[in-house]
Every structure is written in C-alpha cells, then in structure tokens.
Amino acid sequence: MESRVIVVTSGKGGVGKTTTSANLSVSLARAGYKVVAVDADIGLRNLDLVMGLENRVVYNFVDVIEGSCRLNQALVRDKRVENLFLLPAAQTRTKDAVNPSQMVALTEDLKKEFDFVIMDCPAGIEGGFQNAAAGADEGLIVTTPEISAVRDADRIIGMLESLQKSPNRLIINRVRPKMIKGGDMLEVEDVLDVLAVKLIGVVPEDPSVIRSTNSGEPLAFANDSPASKAFENIASRLTGVDVPFLDLENMNGSGFFTGFKKLFRFSR
C-alpha cells in the first residue's frame, strides 16, 4: 500500500491528541500495518510516556535531522506489538530547532519504511503545528464537545485546508452522553454543524484512559473498554473498513446519535 502520513491535531491543548495518536498507532499495528508514531511536540514530548517507551529513548528526530544519528537509530521499536515504532521528539530543544522543509524530508524517509506515519502535533497554530503538518497528507482533528475546543478546531481545520491537506476528519473525544442528555454538553450534531468535516469517530469519556496513560499501556492493547473499542474502530475506518459507530445510547442511556442525519448543512 501507499504510505500515509496523518497529522493528529486540535489547536487546543489537552483534548487528547497524544492519547489518540498512541492508540491509533497501536490499533493500526495490531491490524498488521507497519506504523511509526512521531512525537512532533519538540520540547514538550509526551508520546513516549503514553506509549510506555520512555526508558528506551536514546536519540530523537531532531538528532536525525541534524545528522547526529541515523533514522534507524532514533526509532524505538515497541516490543509488545510487531511493526510498531516511536520516533521521539527532543525534550531539550524548542520548536524552531527544525523547519517545515526538514520535516517534509523526514516524512519522505519515513514513508519509504512505513505504511502509516502518525504525527502527534503540538497544540497551537505556530511553528510546531506548521512543522507537524508540513509533511502530512491528511489530518485528524481531535476536539472535545466544548465551545473553546470547537472554536480552536475550526481554526485548525481552516489552516489545514489552506495547506491543502485532505481529507481532514474529526474525532470527538471525551463525550459524556448523560451530560448531553441533560443539555450540559454540546451534541455531536452541534459540533459537526460548526466544523463541517467528516466524522471518523466518537470516543466516550472513560476513566481507563487516565489509568492507561499513567501506566504507559495504551488502551488499544487491552481492548476491553469503550474508549479502546472506539479507537480501534477509528483505526479500522482509517483503513477503509466501514465500521458502525458505537451504540453509546445503550451503553450510557442517551440518544445523542439521533441527529446525525442533519450533518453538513453547508458542505465545503
């Protein structure tokens, strides 16, 4: 298959980009694809912790770009699943240590080796985002059903469109059906009405995400929680498999998927 470079981004911080990157990478690798998760958050790296690979990081991709090591030396193989690798960020450098053209060259090298390159993008719209998005073909926008996150996602989608990344697809994270039912949280339909991009997954709020993050064991390894199942489904949809959305209605007693028919009133 042709290699795909996907940037996982959001604009706003703390919405679940790194968790999404880690779990999608694991799910894709478990499905048999050769995957590298790239931590593009120079200076604030986290993906190594979430994937439980922090003790095995020696070099990072800034070292690769600067010629201090070869790409294969910086890649960290995950021993728990075949074909899964991490390319860590530098923790002691800043975003301006690399530029977009260097990132394009790096992703071109990665594309020769991997089926999927998952770029975990830093928050914001400045240099860190520009670097992470530079080499990407397509975007995964992570948001939560909060107006601040949705507004930032709207901004970042506009920027991805201007960079001609396509397709750009949406993950709505930390959805709480009970709050939606009580009118205390934005409905999925409301989020889609504003953002007008294709929805690829809805991830329910799940305490096991925090446990897995702290233990360095991505949920996708366990495969038994609602969030884990949601990430696995998103990974399947990324590969073109038509997977129905989780029935959160029965899972949590809310009917917030009923409005899906009114999506994309103004398509782009």
Binding site: R151, D154, R155, G158, E161, S162, D193, V194, F266, R268
Partner: protein
Amino acid sequence: MNNNYDDNKISLKGTGGFLKLVIPADMEHDDLWRGMEKIIEEAEGLLSNVGIIVDFNQRNVTFELLSCFINDFILKYDLKVGSWLSKDTETLNLFRKLALKSSENDTPAMRSSGKGKEALIIKNSLRSGQRIEHHGDVIVIGHVNDGAEILATGNISVFGKLKGLLHAGYESDEENVITCNCFEAKQVRLGGKLSTVINHQSNLWGKPVIISLEKDSLHMREIEC
C-alpha cells in the same frame, strides 16, 4: 485575511466577486515572493475559493517573472485568476501575447441592486480566524463561525448561522443592514454603532433577523418568513 493598505506591501482588496491582489511596482523580487507567501497563508483558502485579480501596477513584468509567479503561486495554490492588470505597456503586451485576460471589466463582478456597489459572494462558511474586508456588500452562502470576522462598507447577508463578528457600513455614511438566517452572535457593528451585550436569552437568538440603524441606534427585528 488582512487587507494591507501600506504602499510597500502587497494588498488584498475586495472587488466584485473577486479579490484584487495589488503588487507594488517597486517591490524587490524576494520581498514579492515572501509577501505572496504571507498573504496566501493569511488568506487561508479564501483566495482559491473566491478568485483573484492580479494587479502588477507599473511593474515591468518579464515572461520569466510571470511564469515563475504562475508556477509558484497560481498553480501551486490552485488560485483562480479572473484578470491580469498592469499599467505598463510592455507588460500588457505580454498579457495579450499569452492571451491572458487583461481588463478588470472582463471579470464577472456581481453588483448589488440599487446602490451600485460591488458585492462579494463567499460560497463557503468562514472559519475561526478568517477575516474578510470588502468595499461593498458581502453575501455569505454558509455560516460565519465564532472567531471569523467580516468588515464591509456595504450590507452583509449571511445565509447560515451568524456566530462571528460582522461590521457593516464600515467607514460609510450610507444606511446599511445586516441580515442572517440564524442569529447567534455576541456582538454586531453597524456604521459607528456597536451592539450591546447579546446572549442566548435574547428572544431573537437563533432566529432570522435584520439589523438596521433607526434613529441613530441599532434596531434588530425578526425576519418574518
């Protein structure tokens, strides 16, 4: 999208159904390329959606410069050029030799009824961070999302939800109006007037409204369909 009226910088101005890209005649080659990259980045996709008129002013445009310009910007960013303008005879001859449309009047500008102003029609929603400035009326066939802004000297009409900031009648003494299909904005501006705080408890929230200036104050009423 920021209009820039500085003489030494590339500016972007609304004109009919197009945006006019005005390139200063004495701008150095490198500055021109940097300025173009910057303005395309700031415009965030609007240029490709709306279409542009490229105005080189008095600059003598060589074939090499023109071909690089087309390659590096027009083709690369999939821009649609309605017309090529120049005040330089040799440049105009070059446009004619290449069969490039070189008259602003050739562009199918849309005009608003009555006032003779040119209207800018935006055929997509405006996302957060996107900004339009236009001399004339603006029609948006889509939403104006929270964080997007439109400044127009004429009227503004939004076919979708209005959540962003509109300023109609900007620097204009004429009577102008704002209309939208679903009003959810926190603030609107009309001429020199600014709306007071609007929130979702307003009885007009979520409804189609028309906002006008009456007796020197903003007046909002529901559009009866």
